[in-house]
């Protein structure tokens, strides 16, 4: 299973990829990941690669080989769409993150073009209203776990397994909040 997590620095892609990796490990698979750590974490484009299976060579997913793309932002999902294999699933947050460059140039970027493009070119698209979930839970920081929840099915990870991974990986005071976000994401995906 090859998964790409694409977003903007600061959105929590690294934690989400770590949780997917841990779930893979706990079911006895070989796992390799690659992270973007460095300058891009300051609001630039970040991509995490997670690969699980019997045998994995490269930590980077080759173009056209991703089973799933988790897009934390519509534009970043589109930017990384060439990674998605035919028939793959994209789980994408609806809300656009407007870069400073767009605000400065007065570009009207709001992600709607990107969502339309995704709807046209992704066979299995799950759009998640991450903003509403974050608002309901009361923290802008749980978008990553909400998206992870929405992606659990296509990732082939069952809820109980991910719950125990979250309990083991997240600081105790944040566990409940993240579990809520996980389930909100799962429910959102079911409604799609």
């Amino acid at each position: 299973m090859n998964c790409i997590l694409a977003g903007v620095g600061g959105q929590g892609t690294v934690l989400a990829s770590k949780l997917i990796a841990q779930a893979g490990l706990s079911s006895g698979q070989m796992v390799r990941t690659a992270e973007t750590i460095g300058m891009a974490q300051r609001g630039g484009c970040v991509v995490s690669h997670v690969r699980t299976g019997k045998r994995v060579h490269s930590p980077l997913v080759p173009i056209g080989q991703a089973d799933i793309i988790i897009g934390f932002e519509p534009g970043e999902a589109v930017r990384n769409l060439p990674y998605l294999k035919k028939g793959g699933t994209a789980v994408v947050a609806r809300k656009a993150v407007r870069p400073v460059t767009a605000s400065l140039t007065g570009s009207s970027y709001d992600g709607s073009d990107m969502l339309a493009y995704l709807e046209q070119h992704v066979e299995r698209l799950i759009l998640v209203d991450g903003e509403a979930i974050c608002e309901a839970i009361g923290s802008p920081k749980v978008l990553n776990i909400a998206l992870l929840g929405a992606a659990l099915d296509p990732l082939g990870i069952d809820a109980a397994q991910m719950e125990s991974v979250i309990r083991a990986s997240v600081r105790p005071q944040f566990v409940e909040m993240n579990l809520k976000a996980l389930h909100a994401g799962m429910n959102a995906a079911r409604k799609e």
């Binding site: 903007v8 620095g9 600061g10 770590k18 990796a21 841990q22 490990l25 070989m30 796992v31 390799r32 990941t33 690659a34 992270e35 973007t36 750590i37 460095g38 300058m39 891009a40 974490q41 300051r42 609001g43 630039g44 484009c45 060579h57 490269s58 930590p59 980077l60 080759p62 173009i63 056209g64 534009g75 970043e76 589109v78 930017r79 769409l81 060439p82 294999k85 035919k86 656009a96 407007r98 870069p99 400073v100 460059t101 767009a102 605000s103 400065l104 007065g106 570009s107 970027y109 073009d113 990107m114 339309a116 493009y117 070119h121 974050c134 802008p140």
Partner: protein
């Protein structure tokens, strides 16, 4: 015990298992987590420090190794340039306890100034080098590197690259963390005091030793000649490219004899020759420099072999940048004459948003840059920058970084710029950690040679870009101990800087006034803009825009470029999840609409 580790963590645990007793370094992407992981697992038996710069780190580690301890020093590739003076000499003097020099290279580059290849540096310094292809191999190489270092009494380089450093994999680690006993320093001036005559003798020994190590490397588990298939077209590769190559061959359903080199210097010649004799051609799949390619060409010349060598020098592999599985797949398909699997063709996407990294919302550097920009409006001024988060001050709309070269260069470059163009006001922006790293000698040079510059220290009380490491101004060490805080203003005063102002940059009025004053001073003047990095302090209440008062002039957005400010339905809007309440925008708003 099996652990899922990032490459850098694997290297750290490898060092612990090898009995390392002393670890020093300076943070730099992608190397930083190695030292941090050692510190995290330290039971108190290992000495760990963030040194003030890579040269200090190298020298301190060399001292520990002279005294017989196993020592490791960590840095990124450009850090090795800073540490090259001690390392070049250390190569001649040698060590007693094992010394592993961990250097992380950055193909791309993703977070660096250069794409230099530490394998080439190893050849230049005549030091053995290991080049891991995975976190698992990186772990295994550390103990081998220590063994080799002690066997031959030489520093050994372990160089890794981003995808190994920041890739995670399952590593089988031992858990014995006992620093190897150190005998203590044994005086021997013939050995430890470098002199021209001993250097001549040591140079002879090094030249005699390296071919011996090259022979030893022929049986290293990190080198392999894998004879798959019966083809006469071979591939030579290294590091993470070995993984890309293996994967690309699988995707192409192709086979080829493969030479994997994990110890590129001293090159395992016999192994190379045997491989060259088994094939007609070799494609070298490398990142950064064509090190293996040149070594194989050299062997073809030395042994009159007819084997053809392809790679970066022949345009078969990209000369710069990071490789990927698909780039390697394409190169291998062309080389082996097999067809590439059909790629899915997506129609071109709508115009993508450009998303360069930016200063965070609420970053005090934004306020500092803006104050200088406003105060210097209409004046001829040049802004020298330096290495750190504040390099991002170059982005529009701030546009406040005219030069950036290497750690500490801003302060000194401003001096040269001003001498040739004395009618400009020359500012040098430097972060607090960079000030301690290499900034101080530049200030001394300015005072001593009577230069006329304004030094602006952007003091956010941390080493922010690499993930918030402590430094001499923070009063904390890597061991978590409280140390004497070194006061930047007192350092500047002691160096003879007559005008030193300390200002909170988030008070825009006071900050602009300080800049105007400093620019009027003759000679060296300094401003310390002091406000903590917003990533390490609790944010203040987010601001909001009063839509009644906002006239949609966009002044806040166009002047500050803060990621928390956006336009919505013709009015400015503050993103509450991003805003840290720094109030800079409310100070800039002509309608007092933000509060």
């Amino acid at each position: 015990m099996e652990k899922f580790l990032m490459g850098n963590e694997a290297i750290a645990l490898g060092a612990l298992d090898a009995g390392v007793g002393f670890v020093s370094g300076y943070p730099g992407t992608p190397s930083t987590e190695v030292l941090e992981t050692v510190a995290k697992h330290n039971d108190g038996s290992i000495y760990v420090e963030w040194s003030v710069n890579e040269k200090s780190a190298m020298e301190a580690a060399a001292g520990a190794a002279y005294a017989g301890a196993r020592a490791m020093v960590t840095m990124k590739q450009v850090g090795l340039n800073v540490a090259s003076d001690p390392l070049m000499s250390l190569a001649y003097v040698g060590v007693k306890g094992g010394l592993v020099v961990l250097v992380a290279d950055d193909p791309g580059p993703i977070s660096s100034q250069t794409e230099q290849d530490t394998r080439t540096f190893a050849m230049f310094s005549k030091l053995p080098v290991f080049d891991p292809s995975s976190p698992e191999e990186a772990y295994a190489m550390v103990s081998q590197a220590f063994e080799l270092s002690e066997k031959y009494g030489t520093p050994v380089i372990l160089r890794s690259t981003t995808r190994v450093c920041h890739g995670c994999a399952t590593v089988n680690v031992q858990e014995r963390h006992e620093p190897k006993k150190a005998e203590g320093f044994v005086k021997d001036t013939q050995r430890w005091v470098i002199f021209p005559r001993t250097s001549f003798q040591n140079h002879q020994k090094i030249e005699a030793r390296n071919p011996v190590i090259g022979k030893e490397f022929c049986s290293s588990p990190f080198n392999a000649a894998l004879h798959a298939g019966t083809g006469r077209k071979g591939i030579a590769t290294h590091g993470i490219n070995y993984a890309y190559t293996t994967e690309a061959l699988e995707l192409l359903s192709a086979e080829a004899p493969l030479l994997k080199i994990g110890t590129p210097f001293p090159f395992p010649e016999d192994m190379g020759v045997e491989f060259l004799q088994s094939v007609d051609e070799v494609l070298c799949v490398e990142e950064l420099d064509p090190v293996i390619e040149r070594a194989l060409i050299f062997l073809c010349g030395k042994y009159h072999l007819p084997t053809k060598i392809y790679g970066k020098l022949t345009g078969h592999i990209a000369s710069a940048g990071e490789n990927t599985v698909e780039a390697v797949e394409k190169a291998l398909a062309d080389y082996l004459g097999v067809s590439l699997p059909a790629a899915a063709h997506l129609p071109p996407p709508p115009q993508m948003p450009v998303r360069p990294p930016v200063l965070c919302a609420g970053c005090p550097h934004r306020a500092s840059f803006f104050a200088v920009k406003e105060a210097m409006k209409g004046r001829k001024a040049v802004f020298s920058g330096d290495i750190g988060c504040y390099t991002l001050g170059n982005a529009m709309p701030l546009d406040m970084t005219d030069t950036c070269l290497c750690m500490g260069a801003g302060v000194t470059m401003a001096q040269g710029l001003h001498k040739i163009e004395p009618d400009a006001v020359n500012f040098a922006f430097i972060g607090d950690s960079t000030f301690f790293h290499t900034g101080i000698p530049g200030v001394i040079n300015a005072v001593y040679n009577e230069h006329d510059i304004v030094v602006v220290v952007l003091d956010n009380s941390t080493t922010a870009m690499t993930g918030h490491q402590p430094h001499p101004g923070t009063g904390k060490t890597m061991m978590g101990e409280i140390s004497e805080k070194i006061s930047i203003e007192r350092v500047l005063e002691a160096l003879g800087v007559k005008s030193v102002q300390v200002v909170n940059p988030l008070d825009l009025g006071a900050a602009k006034l300080a800049v105007t004053r400093a620019a009027q001073e003759k000679g060296v003047s300094a401003i310390i803009f002091r406000s903590p990095c917003i990533a390490v302090v609790k944010p203040a209440r987010p601001l909001a825009v009063d839509a009644e008062k906002c006239v949609g002039c966009k002044i806040c957005i166009n002047k500050l470029g803060c990621p928390a400010l956006v336009m919505e339905s013709g009015k400015a809007k503050v993103e509450p999840g991003l805003c840290t309440g720094c109030t800079l925008c409310s100070q800039v708003c002509p309608k007092k609409a933000i509060g």
